[in-house]
């Protein structure tokens, strides 16, 4: 159990969400264990853990832009008498619903919040702290915490642009935003100009394809193109036993895909893929309908944020954008350059599921490089291997980040003039 605690504490630091050595993770089976000794928050952790009867607990303080965005949203929620921050992105909203805010390091209030939700934000001495509990393993607390950090980041930047469009940015808000933007440079360093060396295809067999998937998955996480290392990756591969759709399993960490890739049969004659990603249906339809051989899916932050920026401030569909937007939308670069459609769609296969919207968009016109699902993430395709799919992921995120700040600057100018 102790190695698990150390592993997830390190993962939070590796993702740039917390300072190395800062997160406190505790596990309780028959005995209690911690990832490190001498943390002054231990007694609080024990009280909360015992109070919940949970298996695992995490207390961690985000750093940088994650800290600033989480703090700003949580404080605003408290000021407005709200009990929680509502995430803007739809995947976090699906799984976490809302992020309760607790004022002060108060055991009873934290317990109250964690009896209701998987995680909460604690405001304490001018900083935001994340608490998350798990019923079966410490991994749950890591997933919740990194989703919370991602959700707040996305929600903050999306809201800023929305408010800018509505002309509602005060000078204090503008100053806060500038300060937060300055914190982004550290993140920027994670996004290199050129894609890393990835295995080249076509792959001779399923083992080679798996190796390429493992490598591509790790690259997605290392470049910060996904939160909590979730997302999915797949590859269409011929084998002597028939054609396979190799795909990462549901809830697998993209940086640890060894042993968690399901071999689904393209002819559908087996259900071994029951544990495959919830987006298997969409991946299958993309392969069935177009030339792609690989698919990469991540949650790059600015691609997600930009997908939620819409000029139609009085659209009658407001509130249902994430699942039923009927307007053809896209992220566009220079004429003839980058063109990435944005489609609505919820996780999975429901009536509003992205399995209905993503495949037609990605396969239209003989196959597209990538499509953004509103408020969720980016899906890219590769012709033979993951090199082009990864390059598109990177290119789109770099573009979206620049485009985001261009839009904010343009609106600031407009508002200043008006």
């Amino acid at each position: 159990m102790n190695d698990q605690l150390a592993k997830y504490a390190a993962k939070l630091a590796d993702a740039g969400l917390c300072a190395p050595g800062e997160p406190l993770l505790a596990a309780l089976d028959a005995e209690l264990s911690f990832n490190h000794a001498g943390d002054p928050r231990q007694s609080l952790a024990v009280e909360v853990l015992l109070g919940l009867g949970a298996s695992a607990l995490l207390l961690a303080e985000p750093i940088g832009a994650c800290q600033a965005t989480m703090y700003a949203l949580a404080r605003e929620a408290l000021e407005q008498g709200e009990a929680a921050v509502i995430p803007g992105d739809c995947e976090t909203r699906t799984f976490l619903h809302d992020l309760p805010v607790v004022n002060g390091l108060d055991t009873a209030l934290i317990l109250q919040a964690l009896r209701r939700r998987k995680g909460c934000i604690i405001l304490h001495q001018g900083r935001a702290l994340m608490a998350a509990a798990g019923s079966v393993s410490p991994e749950q607390t890591f997933v919740t915490a990194s989703s919370m950090a991602f959700a707040c980041f996305v929600a903050y930047f999306a809201k800023h642009l929305r408010d800018a469009r509505a002309g509602q940015i005060t000078s204090a808000r503008r100053a806060e935003f500038a300060a937060i933007r300055a914190l982004l440079d550290a993140d920027m360093a994670r996004l290199p100009q050129t894609a890393p060396e990835l295995l080249s295809g076509p792959f001779a067999n399923a083992d080679q394809a798996r190796a390429a998937m493992i490598q591509a998955g790790r690259a997605v996480v290392e470049h910060g193109l996904v939160d909590s290392s979730f997302g999915n990756v797949s590859c269409r591969q011929s084998t002597t036993g028939g054609e396979l759709l190799l795909i990462s399993q549901t809830g697998s960490a993209l940086d640890e895909l060894g042993g968690v890739i399901d071999p689904c049969r393209m002819d559908g004659t087996s259900c071994v893929g029951l544990t495959a990603s919830s987006e298997l249906t969409a991946h299958k339809a993309i392969y069935d309908g177009g030339p792609a051989k690989t698919i990469l899916h991540g949650h790059p932050r600015f691609a997600v944020i930009l997908s939620m920026d819409c000029e139609k401030l009085d659209c009658p569909g407001l509130g249902n954008c994430h699942r039923a937007c009927a307007t053809p939308r896209a992220v566009n670069g220079d004429p003839g350059g980058l063109h990435i459609p944005i489609v609505p769609g919820e996780v999975g296969t429901g009536p509003f599921g992205l399995c209905n919207t993503l495949p037609p968009a990605l396969t239209s016109g003989g196959g597209q490089r990538g499509v953004i699902v509103y408020g969720h993430g980016l899906f890219t395709t590769g012709a033979v291997d993951f090199r082009d799919a990864f390059a598109t992921l990177l290119e789109v995120e770099r573009f979206c980040r620049d485009e985001y700040f261009r839009r904010v600057a343009g609106l600031d100018q407009q508002n200043d003039a008006g």
Binding site: G53, L111, V136, G251, G268, C271, P351
Partner: protein
Amino acid sequence: MTGQLFGWTGRYLRVDLSTGASENLPLPEDIRQTFLGGRGLGGFFLRDFATLPCDHPDMPLIIASGPLTGTNSPASSRCHIMSRSPLTGAIGDASVGGRLGLELKHAGYDALVVTGQANTPCGIEIDDHEVRFTDATNLTGLPTPDVFAKLRAHRPTGCIATTGPAAENGCRFASIMVDTYHSAARCGLGLVAGLKNLKYIAVRGTGATQVADPAGLAAAVEDIERLANASPALMGQHGFARYGTGSLYDLMDSRRMMPTDNFARTHFPPAPGINAYAYAQRYHPVRRGCPGCLVQCKGLSGDGRPLPEYEAMSHFTALIGNEMIELAMRATDFCACLGLDPVSAASTLACHRERTGEDYGPDRVLALLLGMATSQGPEAELGRELGQGAASYAASHGRPDLAMSVKGLDLPAYDPRGAYGLALSYAVSTQGGSHLRANPLSHEVLRKPVATDRFSFSGKARSIKSAEDMLAAADSLPICRHLLLAASLEEYAKAFAAVTGLPATAGDLLLAGERICMQERLLNAQNGFTAKDDDLPQRFFTESGSGAPDLPVPPIPRQDFLAARAAYYRIRGLDLNGLPTRDTVQRLGLPWPKQWERA
């Protein structure tokens, strides 16, 4: 009663078959809030009678719906049937689909408690507040589809629950069939009805469940449905909505967890050719399910026969060495017609097969099933003996080690050597050999909420305890356990609060679940169950499963198992012998059993 009641009806119906009396009684608020409904309420009604023999007239047969029954909460139309199991002597219960809970609730009752014994086979017909007893002599000996057909002639709407011939003939794993295709299969609840001479129950209600906060409920329903749609196991390409629970067949075999040849092996080489896809190709099933559930996990073939659930599909092939799909179909259909639990029926066949070394042809399998249920046909005598269950059969032949059961309840089709949380949950289940109490397959195999190491006991004691609490609450709301592969009590607490108007969090429901589990432990303890019964058949600790080069399946390390069980006892507040302590019982607000008072 003052004011409007939300969620519950606040009434229950008590029927005494000995006297023909029926009473419409209030269900007090503190009982409702303490035990919720379903399984919790069943335990409450059972607790003063739990030590009586199953054939005692005072032994109750309880059917309980819950506060969510009859609302829009997804998969909440089920109900729970409970009594003492004639197969195991422990508490016996089953969650069942169909319209039973729904109609009972609409008729104005949170529960129906049947006591007494009729002199001749009888039926109970409930139409709202009107209760009638009927003579059911003409329905005895009939296969259940004929019983349904006869009763439907004069009761075209509403719910019908009936036993089959197995219950009339003393088979200890007799089931209760509901609305033709749903069954309360496990623990021999059908025999409890049979011992009372109760052949059927028909219920029709015209009321509705009152919801305190319809908008809040709608929001909760949206959250739950969104999660269900995001679940590969429920709604995905290979999910239950497409193939039923049969989609587990390929997975279990590939994970080397498919019980084969009475659990002597864990891999069945013909499996890929007789999987859920093969059934779909051959029988073109239409999807069916419980009212108000978006999953619709049942399948019905073009000729009207039910497709086997995963457990029957696996046990009627791998467990008994059968490679023929049609035989698995027919065996499943026989069980439905005769009112037999397919899991126990197949396990008993497998036990006999291992003891004698006899291989079965199709005719013999069907003849033995007929014999188990009716003591008739070419295998009347052996069938009757097998109808007492594998544990009794194996013991009487001096080979108790060949019964693959826990507390006398035959194990379902998941080998515990392939998942150690599962091994622990089988052992400590208050019902006996069942994965339903904690469903650790959720994280050990299906990766929800996250994946855990299936070959390790690390962290399992506590997670099994909390999952038991969660499922006890779920069985009492009640909701279908399948939905918990996607949603959690977090979302259902919101639905519960909206329906009842009571502020409640997941934490509150878990506490109720803990109390319900402890109550069951108490009932079992009064019947002499101790740590020695919280154990698995020897085989799992001494024999390897059928591993693959990259997937060894060693025996379960006995010492680790015992350590995990001891940790579980500590976490649950039991003593070293697995018995409830006074402190724990008091903390949960349960009464200390009278028979222990003097001790």
